[in-house]
Amino acid sequence: MTAFYDKKGAGGWHGWHVGQVARLVPGKLVYVAFSPKDAPRAFKLDSLLIKQSNGTFSSYAGEPFSQLGLTVGSSVEVVSVPGHPAQANLVFDPFHKS
């Protein structure tokens, strides 16, 4: 697993990244921390995908974060679309116990 962020250099996310939710702003955005030394990164809620029990994903639909179990400290993954590094999705798996 590699975790690096190169927004300005290469134009987006590459690979697979794991981080922890640092701050939730209901209705607006999620901040995710990827390393203790770097500032958390902001993600719009329309990039948030929720993993379902059957392994599929659904787009975040405005549910309360508490209902999903998404709290500060939750593990999330950033998955970029191959060939479209700017189109990164934030994936939360409520069934994964870290």
Partner: protein
């Protein structure tokens, strides 16, 4: 750039937006490119027509009387960029559609062709320290000033 980014500035590029934009930005057809901004950066605004808004005119007058040069006194509103390519946290009142106090709103609310915009970054703070600016502002969200 002392006068900031003016609505008359040429368009840098065309982009496709697949989400809802504030009506004024949709009508005007242009939005701010915030890709170079980072969480905690300050976004300063002012009406292009300095006399169009009595409150802004009063702020500018007070800042001039307080000793600021016009270059700095012209900026009548400040917000903190949150880092998601769109949202700002700011203290405001009588903003259409928002309660008075500390609110989070789209930077594109200022994209109606009547505002000049300038971004400022504290030069003595690193990215993590600047993030604490935006984090603190979010903590004030909903507070009434």
């Amino acid at each position: 750039m002392a006068d900031g980014l003016l609505p008359s500035a040429p368009t840098r590029r065309k982009i496709r937006i697949d989400r809802q934009l504030p009506p004024q930005a949709r009508n005007w057809g242009r939005i701010l490119d915030l890709s170079a901004a980072e969480p905690g950066d300050l976004i300063l605004t002012r009406p292009v027509d300095a006399n169009s808004d009595k409150i802004s005119a009063a702020i500018r007058k007070a800042q001039l009387e307080g000793g600021f040069a016009l270059e700095h006194a012209q900026w009548t509103h400040a917000a903190v960029y949150l880092g998601d390519d769109e949202h700002l946290c700011e203290a405001n009142f009588k903003a259409p559609g928002y309660p008075n106090g500390v609110i989070i709103r789209s930077a594109f609310d200022y994209c109606d062709g009547t505002y000049a915009v300038r971004a400022r970054r504290p030069k003595d703070m690193n990215a993590k320290e600047r993030f604490t600016n935006s984090d603190w502002c979010i903590g004030e969200f909903g507070e009434f000033l």
